[in-house]
Amino acid sequence: MNLNKHALSKLFISETAIMLFLVFLAVGCGKNYEAFNTDPTRLTSLSPDDVKGLFPNTLYRGMYATEDAQGDYQYSQGMFADLYSQYFATSATFDQTDRYVIVQDWVQNQWYATYIAAMPGLLTILKETGKPESITLNAIARIWKVFVLHRTTDYFGPIPYSKIGLDSAAIAYDDQKDIYYDFFKQLSQAATDLQNNISNPSYGTQDIIFNGDNTRWLKFANTLRLRLALRISNVAPDKARQEAEAAITAGVMTDVSQDAYLSVSALNINGFNRQAGWNEFRMSAAMESVLKGYNDPRLPKYFKPALATGEYAGARNGMNPAEIALPQNDYDHTSDVSEYLAPDNMTTTPMTVMHSAEAYFLRAEAALNGWEADGTPQALYEKGIEMALKSWKITDPLQISNYINSTTVPMAPGGYFSTPAMTDIPVKFSTDPQNQREQIITQKWLCLYPDGHEAWAEARRTNYPKLYARLHSDNPDLSNDKMIRRIPFVNFDRDKNGPAVKKAEKLLKGPDNIATSLWWDVH
């Protein structure tokens, strides 16, 4: 080959110079790469104020409320606990959850809200508030963490608890007993920490439940401890009594002024009111039987008359699509929620977290158990009713005492299914201890409305109120006449945390289905 050497050398001289220029061009401006790769619209680190700023979202998401159109609340609670507590029946033909079919695509939102929305903020707060000067912040975050997770464990039983936040391919579940025992530890310690630093400033306006009032958080923590103590009273009576008495001594809620409400706004709307907008929830026959039978002054506070008839009417739980589609059962012939709980007020009606009335009903039950509850069962029961009515702005003393002394009993809704009365107990406190227990829990059920989460848990524990059998079950694991005992583990976690879920199945008392009871559930 005869290479043209001259041409080649000339080529290399001129081109090398240009190449060097290009190298300079390319590499020279690579200095500010970190600035290029920093998102200007988000934060990479948190100031102490930002740490407090994490709190509202954990409160809000812990109550399954979202600002987006889908709404965790309906998927987490409305479609499940609110139907199983028989506050509501569904008027949507496609909603099979009322017939015990667990739609995984829905219930996974509860898991999401807990672990991906509420927990990260709480864990970050706990990590950032380890110093003595921020101990009140830390204690309040611990209390809220127990509140959020007690609802989750009461759905599923074993859940990831001690290993939350671990960066691992599989995160183990804890036994429900261990979780409950740790709840008590956390609550008593947090209450002590809070008591000892009660005058320290906490979250201030970022606390959208108590607006920075440490004393109210303290009472809330003790009431929650009392709630959890009674929950385990059938399975661990000694521990239950010990925790309950300690909580009562430390000071539980005693007045409606201490009630816990999550305040809402245009940006953080009320999840319950929002779900009412889908027009899929109607007063249940159980609610109809009791509220109408008792001539309960809360009836118009809770519901409104049916559109087509102007009458209050309930719907049976577990109707099949054809039954729902019948005119007499459809949503125009049954009662929707009241205006106060309807979408028009979703930016103003606060979400109920806990009522002081519940504390009285818990103490009444504790007294009935023979525990030290600072009052007789009857006195506490009647005070509970008074507080419950006051929570709904029913304050006329005569109206209250008339109700407390009323001897009318629940009515028979009749209708297409010839529904009988739900039970035969009146409001007036009975002399029979068995009836007394039913009365206490039935009144608590009325008072907890619309918190189906707590109502369903207590219905499983106590078998009260005596709810109707469902008309149909479409789930082969459980017949329609039996109460659903739990929600199966979510596919959402099976897909991403499979090995841990497999192991968790062994922590259950039976197969992973809706018929298996939780640890505390020995009905």
């Binding site: 290029f36 496609f94 995160i171 897909d495």
Partner: protein, 1089 residues
Amino acid sequence: MDLTGIFLFCLSLGVAAKTFSQTVTLSVKNASVQQVFELVKEQTHYSVFYEKDLLTGAKTITAKVRNMPLQQFLSMTLAEQDFTYYVEQETIFLKRKPISAMTKTGKMQEAEVFVPTVKGLVTGVDGKPLTDVNVVVKGSGKGTTTDAEGSFSIEVNTDQILVFSSIGFLSQEVAVSSSTMQVILAGETKSLNEVIVTALGIPKAVKSLTYTAQNVKGDQLNEAKEVNIINSLQGKVAGVTVTRNADGPGGDTKVLIRGNRSITGNNDPLYVIDGVPLTGSVGMLNSDDVESMTVLKGASAASLYGSQGQNGAIIITTKRGKEGALTGNYVGGLSFDKATLLPDLQYEYGQGDAGIYAPNSEHSWGPKAEGQMVTLWNGKTVPLKGQSDNLRDFFRTGSNLTNSVSVTGGNEKMRTYFSYANVRAQGIMRNNDLIRHNVDLKIDNAISSKLTCFIKMTYIYEEVNNRVIPGDAGTYALPSIFRSPTSIPLREMENYAYTDSNARERQNYWKPNSSVLLNPFWALNRITYYQQKDRLLGLFSAKYAMAEGIAIQVRGSIDKTFQRTNHKVYADNYFSLVGSDYDYGSTINTGVNMDALLSFRRDLSRQINLSGDVGASMQESTYSGVAGNANGLNKQNFFFMNNARNPFINEYSGRTPRVQSLYGTVTVAYRNYLYLDVTARNDWSSALPKGSQSYFYPSVGFTGVISDMFRLPLWINYGKVRATFANSGYGGNEYLDRNYYQVGAGGVIITPTIQSLGTYKPELTSSFETGVEGRLFNNRVSINVVYYNTKTKNQLLLIGAPPASTFNQKYINAGLIRNRGVEVVAGVMAVKIAHFSWNIDLNYSKNYNKVLQLTADVKSAILVNSDLAQIKAVEGNSFGDIYAKGWQLDDQGRKLVDDAGNPIFTKGNDVLAGNYNPNYMMGINNLLEFNSFSLGFLIDYRNGGYIIAGTQALIDADGHSRQSLQGRENGITLDAYTVDGKKNEQTISAQKYWSDRGGRYPVGSLYAYSATNVRLRELILGYIIPAKALGKQRIIKGAKVSFVGRNVFFFKNNAPIDPEITRGVGGGGLEYAALPSTRNLGVNLKCTF
């Protein structure tokens, strides 16, 4: 039908053809034509055919040639005759020249050489006139192009030289020696010497390519027009899958080249326009401006594009100004769309449930519809009858009207191309329409003999009303019409609103306040979306020829899109709790590219040429916008942000990674038959963690033109082998190296849901590709076979994290995916006889995908999680497996039912229902030409793959589907067993059975349909309007009219939907209340003036 059969048949036809490489040696003076042909016949054994009177008055021939190829000899000797020739099957046919050419020639006889106008005819070797050939007077900048008849006329002096050139043909210089001339451009070697634009805009001879690049001419793409030009690629390029999003005119399109390579990342190819990567959507471009599209397949072809080119690249070259007199083009098209493959409904049973008529029911489980009188929800009494025209009448006939005008002209110093186009399209949804205007100006300017520059300005305006959003989102019109009871007359639905006693507008629906559906007409008119875009594309490039063989080019481009949107929801709507609601958005997206490229070409010796390019580039994009949400309006149905009840404004901005690169390529050619191609590129991406922002990847390719190296049998005209190894890298998206906290509405701090990776490596794709190409039997058969093997590792996978880790998803840097495949591109000139030809082109591609590895402890990743099914990547399987709920089976594989006879289905997505990717795909394109008529049709075959038909599940559950007729009267006794192993004897109602398996959360595996289908994708009947029909007017020089059909019909399709149309651009395999596929028929007119 076995489609390969056709191909083999054509192949055998091709074999019968004989080679055409005869030469002539003779010396004659003033011989008659007949005498000359006698000599030719003797020497070549070819026969000569002509009409009896044709040679009357023919001029005598004087010639002296030695071993001159026959065609050249014929061209030379017959140039000045009134007749021309073509050769077919060892026969020389003489035929009269086209009238226009002849009359011109005839008139010229007396004028002779001093008239400075030369007229002539340019044909291919087959005698067919060539249009749009550039005819330029050398050195003067003066030029013209040939018209539809192949004729041209130009003012020129006798001593000047005319240069004839056209894309794909060898240029030819001809000295002007008479006032008429016939020029034959070498056509048979056109593809061999064809130059295509490759990566970075570097033109290369097809012959020298070491990888696969398939070129499609603009004309081929435009003839059957699509509003989005990318859709026209379907079936024309091997290995390319085009999936249209079902969202009406101008919708987005997903293009996949050689399968999915990245698990959770981006599998879209890079679009490059005139050498510069495109930032915004390609679908908005004016298809008539496209000169050609080259598909660079695989990482090797696009290795010079680096990150962006990992999935292959589609290089779009647009038309530029041409030298010569002002010429213009007009293309107009009008076509109509009609919905096809509508859901298959039943019309035997009416509205209601459990066999009872109910005017408020949203189901068709009512009584047998036998014309009995019933009262509708609106109080009207009508006979209960299946309304079989409802669906058909709900969808209107869509129309697309396109107009495009372009003019070009200039001289050697400056050439201009200007075009304006508009599109007016109406979708088959009554509220969906699109208007688009495109203006394009391009100027090539030679500032000096060494410095040339090119400038391009494109402006696009687009307005879309109610782009169709399939499924449960959007207006909800599609689910509502599919799910309307089949006995409600459509005209009753059409009165979608009424005014209540408070003078408020209310929705007129059969189940007021339903949480399930809406009146479909209300949905069309009372939930609206509006989108408006202004887009500016600018490109500047300057090229300086520093010395012989060395040039430097600098380019800069910007692509800026301003978009405004609004979304109006009227009061009394299922979606809006707060009465009416309003959203608006305003965004600006800007993409900037800059690059410099130094090119050199040197002959190192007479046998070795060296050419290469060295370059550097920088690119980045920014985005910013505001989105306002009214959260309810104070005055109802008054859509204005000042009227917002709780306005919330969200502002966002960001930038994509800045990627800076240095790259180079060197090609060494030995005797123009051996080529070695080496490329190297280094990228610096700002997305990567600090300290590891740089990554390097090389490629090496080799090509040998065997037919030039060795003496091959005569029937092999051309043969080439090649192989390439290439690497390509990808630095990932922006902002992945840290966890960010978001400041949400009201100033609250929100934790991240995706866990970032502190440090990671760039994704790396390595590919090997080898192929052979050949042209056989006198170039009548061409074949191109490719095998490739691509592996992608270090993928930035976004996988599901255990929720209790407090993250929903996390990034990992792992995974290994392999794509292996074969592509065959073949062409056959099946028939070529007088006045008639039939060309067949075939594309075949098969891709095997395997997920070799995810991570050490993750064996399966969910790609798409929907109500219908999950799409997963499972180690050891193929990307895109569909897992869904299925029938619970016992140990013996028998279906299970409960004691009441109800089916028992699995509770999770645990049944493999199939994979959505096709086994193989094939396109057969036929072009038949008969004189001025042409007929083209493209048959498209997709074999394999599955799709979950969600619409079918909905209409089954509601009792609207034909399928749901089963068991209406006597119930359904499922052929199944109970958990205890007893044969089922219980009967359940049809409504129970179908609503259990169907609905919004269906048993997905029962709705998995094979996506195998064969369709007539394209049908084009073209007619070149003869010059005489255009009359004496001089304005229109040529015209062609075509009747076109797209998506004409299916030869075979077993799915209840068009399997090509899926729920969204992102994922395949899932359909849910999608817009039906359409058949498009229309007419196009093309004029040159």
